[in-house]
């Protein structure tokens, strides 16, 4: 009994060490903030630990963990992100386009994207992150979000349309050395 528990813990440790970076990046895009991301990943993994005997032997433990993370995020960060990343009142101020490759401009670009993500409703943000960052299929994203494929399509399309409507983001792509 004790040996089995120890083996389970070892397996879980290896899982956490291996998946931590990827989970952190996904959580960062979902929450927009370093500490909130750490908190989200840690809570997610704690929940996975409780069910590890079942999760670890499942075909795809990552899919389970992803689903837990999305559920946890939906509950915990629905309001927090807007508060944290509420855009400053700089409307009307033309955005200067810094030289590409400039570290400060890269940081500003990232901040711009995170702010744009923050303006999306949680389900749209999740759909965009799962489809475009995690590179999941619509079916996989639907499993992670606990919704239908149609809802994933709809949330993704709405989210992307909103990102696309932000001219500064297009500028980032244009002037950030991508085109």
């Amino acid at each position: 009994m004790g040996d089995r528990k120890q083996a389970g813990d070892e397996e879980f440790r290896a899982f956490v060490a291996g998946r931590w970076p990827r989970l952190m990046r996904t959580a960062f895009l979902l929450t927009g903030e370093q500490h909130a991301a750490e908190d989200l990943v840690q809570s997610t993994l704690e929940k996975a630990y409780v069910a590890w005997r079942r999760v670890g032997s499942a075909d795809d433990p990552e899919a389970y963990v992803r689903r837990v993370m999305i559920n946890t995020h939906a509950r915990r960060h629905r309001r927090k992100l807007r508060e944290f990343l509420a855009p400053r009142d700089d409307s009307g101020i033309a955005r200067e386009v810094p030289d590409s490759g400039d570290h400060i401009s890269r940081a500003e670009d990232r901040g711009l994207l995170l702010q744009a993500l923050a303006q999306l409703p949680p389900r749209q943000r999740q759909a965009v992150v799962l489809r475009y960052w995690e590179d999941l299929t619509e079916t996989q994203a639907a499993e992670a979000m606990g919704c239908s494929v149609g809802a994933v399509k709809s949330n993704t399309a709405k989210g992307i349309a909103k990102l696309r409507a932000i001219p500064e983001l297009a500028d980032t792509v244009m002037y950030g050395g991508r085109k």
């Binding site: 879980f12 990046r25 475009y132 809802a151």
Partner: protein, 275 residues
């Protein structure tokens, strides 16, 4: 090429979007995985579950005595039951309890099951929060998001529990969270969890789906792996009928809640607000 591969007329291709996301994601500091802290946290969560089981046993064992219940100091008292004097003389102080709502109940292959929602009143200040946290801990419903009493001020904690079988009186937590008065869901927003009907047999098909939606939602459709669907509609009264799955809007929650149960032999595929 990403799985999402369309091109937009503003010149932002899917690859551009993926690039922007990857670039933003790279800004997070990764650090070393806090494996030990995660395991400690996991063990605490597991211990809380055991505490719930112990609390159930204590409640059953003490069913001949009365549980002292009162409202938070200064609370209007409309969300908790009035105080009842304990049957025994030694009482450490007022004991709070959540406002329970039965979301659904039924019988599956001769075994009763039930899904309940516990909602705790929102404390108005840190003193109330401290008192409430003590009660919640005793009850085994310490919310994961709360690290100190002030985290709870102005926020209402909830726990969804499922029970299966006659002996599982209090039930196993399947979902928990905090809400503030301003929290709202709108349109087709939906949060859900799918679990086996019997929480003590992990690995079984996820037949039970519990979730919350906007209070305006009229219909939720659960789709099962065998292609069939179950549609649940708003409850027409507060009466609970066995095996009647509906959308309920407890007065104490900013959300409407639904429960779907998959037929035997299939499992959860997806769920959506359809009206």
């Amino acid at each position: 090429m990403t799985n999402a591969n369309r091109e937009f007329d503003h010149g932002m291709t899917d690859r551009d979007i993926a690039f922007l996301l990857a670039d933003a994601a790279s800004a997070v500091e990764i650090g070393t995985a806090p494996t030990q802290a995660v395991i400690r946290g996991g063990r605490r969560r597991r211990a809380r579950r055991w505490a719930v089981t112990a609390a159930t046993a204590a409640l059953v064992a003490g069913s001949t005595g009365a549980l002292a219940v009162t409202a938070l100091p200064g609370d209007g008292g409309h969300r908790v039951a009035p105080a009842t004097p304990p049957a025994t003389s030694a009482t450490p102080g007022p004991v709070l309890q959540p406002d329970p709502t039965t979301l659904a109940t039924g019988t599956d292959q001769g075994t009763p099951w039930k899904v309940t929602l516990d909602v705790w009143p929102a404390p108005r200040d840190e003193t109330e929060a401290q008192t409430l946290l003590g009660a919640m801990t005793t009850y085994g419903e310490f919310p994961a998001d709360v690290h100190k009493a002030s985290d709870l001020v102005g926020r209402s904690a909830y726990t969804v529990r499922q029970s299966h079988g006659d002996g599982d009186t209090l039930g196993t937590p399947v979902s928990e969270g905090l809400t503030a008065p301003a929290d709202r869901m709108a349109g087709t927003d939906l949060d859900s969890v799918a679990v086996p009907l019997d929480p003590d047999t992990p690995g079984r098909p996820q037949r039970l789906v519990v979730g919350h939606v906007a209070r305006t939602a009229q219909e939720v459709t659960c789709t099962w792996k065998n292609g069939t669907t179950t549609k649940v509609h708003r409850a027409t009264s507060t009466d609970i009928n066995s095996d009647d799955q509906t959308i309920r809007t407890p007065a104490t929650s900013p959300y409407a809640w639904f429960v779907c149960l998959a037929p035997d032999g299939t499992a959860f595929e997806s769920v959506a607000v359809t009206r």
